[in-house]
Structure formats: C-alpha cells, structure tokens
Subunit: 305 residues, 2 copies
Amino acid sequence: MSKDFRVHILGCSAAIPTSERHTTAQLLNYHNKYFLLDCAEGTQMQLRRLRLPMMKINHIFISHMHGDHYLGLPGLMFSYHLLGRTKTLNIYAPDGLKEIIELQFRISDLKTSYPIKYHLISQGNQLLYEDTNISVEAIEMHHRLKTYGFLFREKPALRNMRKDAIEKYNIPVEEISRLKAGGDFVTPDGKLITNDNITIDPPPIRKYAFCSDTGYTEQYIDQIKNADLLYHEATFLHDKVDIARQKTHCTTIDAANIAQKAGVKQLMLGHYSARYDDMKLFEEEAKTVFHNTILAEEGLCIDIG
Amino acid sequence: MSKDFRVHILGCSAAIPTSERHTTAQLLNYHNKYFLLDCAEGTQMQLRRLRLPMMKINHIFISHMHGDHYLGLPGLMFSYHLLGRTKTLNIYAPDGLKEIIELQFRISDLKTSYPIKYHLISQGNQLLYEDTNISVEAIEMHHRLKTYGFLFREKPALRNMRKDAIEKYNIPVEEISRLKAGGDFVTPDGKLITNDNITIDPPPIRKYAFCSDTGYTEQYIDQIKNADLLYHEATFLHDKVDIARQKTHCTTIDAANIAQKAGVKQLMLGHYSARYDDMKLFEEEAKTVFHNTILAEEGLCIDIG
C-alpha cells in the first residue's frame, strides 16, 4: 500500500495578500491524515476552491504570530463550529494564539461544537506530534518574533519479505511480522537464517521541512539534513540582500545555500514579497547554487520523496 | 457638480464563506469619501480585485462582533501599516473590537504607522459621523449580539438660484450665498422679494440604510423611513421562517415587509445563507410584497437615489 505524502500550496506570498495571491498556508496529506501549516486570511476559501477536505484537518501548525501566517484561523474555526464539527482540533502555536482565539470566541459569545487542544511551541527540536507512521518536530527559525518551522519525518517502515526466501525456507505465515521487524529465522532442522537473507530494506524514510519565516542562519541545517523536500522562504531576490538582513528574511541565494548545505533533495521557494510579479528570476537565481529548485505557487500539489 | 453616492458590494453571504462567495462587506462612496461597512475575511483582497481605493478608506463601521462581519479587519489594518499609511483610521464598532485588534497588535509586536481612533457604538440613533454633507447614525438591530445598522443621510443642500430671478431683480453676486441659504432679497428701492420667488428647492436629500444582521422587528422603521435604498438581510427563503426566528435572522418576506412599511424607494437583499445556490427565488419572493427589490451580488455597484 503506497503511503501518500504530498503538500498542497494554498498561499505563498509574503506579508500582504494581493487580488490574486494569498499569504502562507499549506495542506500536508500523509496517507489521508491532513495537517495544515499556517493559516493566512482566506485559507478556508482556498481549501474549498482546491476541493481539499477542510473537515478532515485535525492538526494545525502555526509558525509565528505575524498576521500573514495566522489570520485565517479564527474564520476557519468559526466555520468548523457552524458546520457542526465534533472532532477535537489540535492547534500547535507559539504563545499568543490561544489568547487571540479565546478572546474572539468570548466576544462572539461562542462555545464551539468541538473540543480544541492547544499545544504550545516553545523551543526548537520539540516533538509536536507523532503517530505510528510520522512525527512532527519544531524547527527554530531566526526571525523578529519567536518562529518555528516544521519537520515531518516518517518513521522507519517494516522490512519487506523476499518472496524467494519464503518459498526456499518454507517460512510459516505466523513468523512474518517478527521477521519484518528484523528477527532472524530458524529452520525446523535448527539452521539459523539471518534476517538479511530473508528480507530487503524498506523504502527509505521521507522528510519534509517547512522553513518560514527566517533570516539567514545555519542553526537548523543538521535538523533538516537530507530532507526530500525543503520549503524555504525566499522573500527577496538577492540584490535585496540588505533589506532581507534588516527584516530577517532570506533571499533566493540564502535559501539555495541552506538547501545545498543541508543536502536536501529538492528545494521549493516561497513567501515572495508582493513587490514581485514574475517569479521566474527567483528560480533562476536559486538554481545557480542549488539546481533542483522549484517555485511554490497557489494550487501546486507536490509529492514528497 | 454631481454628488456621487453609491455602494459597492464586496461580499453578501451569511456566516460561512464559500469558494466563490464572501461574507459581509460594502464600500460606500460619497463624493470620493470612502466608508467601509463591515469587513469580512478577504475584504482587502476584494477591494483590490474590484480596483477600489483601499487606502482612501478613513472610516470603517462594524455592525457586530460575529466573525463574518469583522474578521477581515485585522488583516486590512496590518496591510495599512505595511503600506505605510499615515492618515488616522476611524473605527466605529460595538464593544469588543478594540480589544481584539489591540491584542493582535500587541502579540505581533506592532506599533502601527498610523493613528487609530475607536468610536464605541452603544445605542440606536447614536450619531457616529458627520461632515458638512452627510451624517451616519447607528440603527439598533434585533440580534443575538448587540448589532447596529447604519443610516447614511445627506444634509440638505443649499437652495438653487433661479436664473430668471437673478436677471429680473438684478441680484448682485455677493448676495447669492445668503439667498441660497434661504434669505429674502430686498431690492435697492426697498421692495421685499421672498426667497421662494428667487430660488428653487435643492435636490431632495438621499438616504442609504444598511440593516444586517437582524431578526424581524419594526423598531427601526421610523428611522429608515423613505430611504432611497435599503440593504436588508434576508438570510432565508420564507419557508425557513421558523429557523429565521430561532436564529434571529430575516426571510425574504420579512425584509420586503420592512421595506414596504418604511416606504423606502428600493430594497436590496443580501446576507444569503450558504445553503442557497440560486438567488432568483429570493428576488421573486420579496417582489410579491415589495416590487422594487434587487439582489446584492459581489462586484455590484449601485447608485443611491
């Protein structure tokens, strides 16, 4: 059974939405579990436009408390209530978000139809979520406010049985799960067959790193090492590197340098300043440092690994 | 010089935005003064899409603290800051909005580039705004939360001089403004010419009433009497009158009854529940009671009077 692992881009502009461009939000689908990364103004409408299953989102991660990353969340949460949601909504965010949401519910005189569980993000490497297949960790960014990226990391799968070995050693079915977990096999006549003779490696684990917003820093390179896909903010073309430094954002070349140093397989740029109309130059600049670069754009869906 | 008086519909859906339908916001243009009425999620993008002058809005009126009427305001205000606005922004709203905005600014560590003046709406008939040409009053709605509609009322214009009278009585130019204000004229030989012989009535004053959200009530009929245009919420078709009563909203027939009793010239329906796709029935039902009914729709611009 294939394990879907893909990300949908709902918005990838920086700071100010324009008539056609939304600010940051992404929907991550891991085998029909849905995780929302940031939730800019208009996210609930983007989910509907792209026919994504808004009601199936049970985990929402907010990187930081700048409006272009969270302002769509109250509306989404009000809509969940109006639509009669009953499942618990988990929200992972830095300090402040809970207070903003609760104040709005209080002033609207609303008691939601569903439970809300707030998880405070307070440091890098913090394990935010895990189930049997995947985990999510916070990545500490370098920004004006406390800001966290997110690392989605698959857990190692079980090893795969070799069909020829099953036949050759006549392995009974009740042994399979133990062998898939790495155990050796002993034949009825007492011969030890080590695991490497009867199984093959599972597919490599896959990783997705979401890094936005941040100024240039190498502090999280170890953590995102070898990611299959790195989404990294590149607010400016590199001729604006001084503005980028001043505003603690990155340029195309910054993002490409991070991708290169972390040895990721693919880089996706995003969080473009509203001053730019044509993103082609973003791709061209980044590719001078890191060839496997693509551009985030609204509606894009990309498979990870 | 003609005095423009028109309203642009930015969103007219109730409660939950859909992929194509925004919740409540309207831009009123009175002779190039711009007033925003409610500010649902996505309003700043709607202003850009419709090429309306977002930066010229100096007065924003919020009817009540349900999310579908105010959730776009924080984003608009963040954007004003990022765009370097310096002019004072006046916000008229019931209790609670100021607290929500100030909390978000505090948590985002933002000191706006422009001054904000909050005006608390606390009762019906309250005069919220006036200048030499127009005034805005609160209208007390009947809703689950404290809710206010808005009445835009032109001030009486100066009377118009009769050209034939100017010639006949040889009226000197320095007398004109006094006569336009209603004064009588005395000829050089002492004869009194009363004002009605030298001026004609100015154009009648025009009124626009915005009434949303509300359950059926006749409490504001006197206040909106003879309005040139009444925007009135009609969340449901009339077969859902029981739900309307329970949720303190109106049906098509309710809105039409108000229009008819108040003797307004034209009724515009809006605030349609997301359950409806085709609004044609809304118009048909309302017209059985009040013929001059039109439907609000996004992007519609309508002249008042």
